[in-house]
């Protein structure tokens, strides 16, 4: 019970931090459900260190062995990354194709295998290619589809 409360409190604070800082540089955050982050392990297939925000494609495997192909943008833009020490060469090396990473994802509100990545960890548990380390998400590793929007969100007409 205590663990649940602790976890939930941390979750609440983490979500707040993530959402409050989510009004970022290029304003695309409203395309994503950043209030409901989730985590999964994935394998990088492509990483683009480009303005206005880096983008990445990656794969994850569900419990029944199916491979999902996801496309994502990163919240942190290159100027912020470089000032946080994540230069282009260092970031490209850290996310070269085939690298296994833990991702903190906010799914696209339109659904599908598309999301915004709020935080990335390597296999050592270190936060990489980002400046924020406070994002918290529910573990959905291996669950088909990850955490998808409910459909109750009001999308623009």
């Amino acid at each position: 019970m205590r663990n649940t409360i602790t976890r939930t409190l941390a979750l609440g604070a983490g979500l707040l931090l993530a959402s409050a800082s989510g009004w970022a540089h290029h304003g695309s955050a409203i395309s994503y459900d950043t209030a409901h982050l989730w985590t999964t392990w994935g394998t990088v297939t492509e990483f683009n260190y480009l303005n206005p925000h880096p983008s990445m494609t990656w794969e994850r495997t569900t419990k029944d062995g199916k491979v999902e192909h996801w496309v994502s943008e990163l919240l942190t833009n290159p100027s912020m990354l470089v000032r946080a020490g994540w230069t282009k060469s260092r970031s490209n090396e850290a996310l070269k194709p085939g690298t296994r990473v833990k991702l903190y994802v906010g799914t696209s509100r339109a659904g599908g295998f598309s999301g915004i990545i709020m935080k990335i960890e390597n296999e050592k548990g270190e936060s990489i290619v980002g400046e924020r380390t406070n994002a918290v998400g529910v573990d959905m590793d291996g669950v088909p589809g990850g955490l998808q929007p409910t459909g109750n969100e009001e999308l623009p007409k």
Partner: protein, 316 residues
């Protein structure tokens, strides 16, 4: 591992507990995000530096988020925002019929989302702050790498992007990190161009003169394809922007902006005050190279990004 139903329960519990966590969490936030509803005294000055300085020399590297560079916090550097994001803000004037027509054609991707709970909860703010659409369905010129225009460059410099000022004998060069743009403020006594003779351009033409310790800059000759700020407010070629710049203490620079554009608005529009903190050269450095970054908007890069953006919105 947690299944989605259990996860939803956790979200609900988190919402309740967040009521406790919010105040503490917000105190720890870096001064980047604008918090609509939060009001600071924009006439205050948190700079405690008492060293002598020249109030008429604006040269230096400036940021509205000095904490990002290890400098003391600057509460007044954040804006009294009408909505999430970075903007001209202040009391929005009425729009003329022509202004309203152009306003309605602009579809910004920032602000409270159109028809959302947040938009309905902020009916007190102008419609411009309550009409955001998913960027994939908007028409923000920025998403095509078109120039931002002067007012938007100045107001967006709060979004983490820095600004450099270089002052020489007869003019000041102002450089903006995001989109790697610039403008000159001429202080050699020249008048602003004849309004019928100039070639409109995105950053207009700027002249400055000192009134005591205030540099009064008048800018005119704007290309009317620009948005005043990221919320899609239009402006016409006849618009005149007055900027009143002050350097009140060693580490602070501020500006009070007024847009006069009778073609578009029914009265002059005074923006909320924008305040910057001075960043020592060695503190604004990446890879050992100090200064602002060449943070360009590259059309081919933007086009790639927009494919991801469109995919996220389900746009075919």
């Amino acid at each position: 591992m947690m299944n989605p139903k259990i996860a939803r329960c956790s979200w609900n519990a988190a919402k309740a507990l967040a009521l406790v966590a919010v105040p503490a969490a917000l105190l720890l936030l870096p001064a980047r995000a604008q918090n609509p509803g939060r009001k600071v005294d924009l006439n205050s000055n948190s700079d405690t530096d008492k060293r002598p300085f020249d109030k008429h020399d604006f040269s230096g590297l400036w940021s509205r988020n000095p904490g990002q560079y290890g400098q003391p916090a600057c509460p007044e550097c954040r804006d009294n925002a009408n909505a999430p994001g970075y903007g001209f803000f202040g009391e929005v004037p009425g729009r003329t019929a022509a202004g309203e027509k152009r306003f309605q054609l602009n579809k910004p991707g920032r602000g409270y989302e159109l028809n959302s709970k947040d938009a309905k909860a902020h009916a007190e703010v102008d419609e411009g702050y309550r009409r955001a659409v998913l960027p994939a369905f908007g028409n923000d010129p920025e998403a095509r790498c078109e120039p931002l225009g002067l007012a938007r460059l100045i107001t967006f410099s709060g979004g983490g992007a820095a600004m450099a000022m270089t002052q020489v004998k007869d003019h000041i060069i102002q450089q903006f990190e995001w989109t790697w743009d610039n403008r000159d403020i001429w202080t050699d006594g020249r008048p602003i161009p004849n309004i019928d003779d100039y070639l409109p351009r995105y950053n207009g033409y700027s002249t400055g003169k000192w009134e005591g310790d205030t540099l009064v800059v008048t800018s005119a000759g704007f290309d009317d394809r620009q948005w005043l700020d990221q919320f899609g407010y239009p402006m016409s070629e006849k618009a005149v922007l007055e900027e009143r710049w002050q350097h009140p203490s060693p580490n602070r620079l501020l500006v009070d902006l007024t847009l006069t554009d009778p073609t578009t608005y029914t009265r002059p529009w005074k923006a909320t005050r924008k305040v910057w903190g001075l960043i020592p050269k060695d503190k604004m450095a990446a890879g050992g190279w100090s200064g602002i970054l060449e943070d360009r908007c590259i059309p081919s890069d933007e086009s790639l990004f927009n494919k991801f953006r469109d995919h996220a919105a389900g746009k075919k």
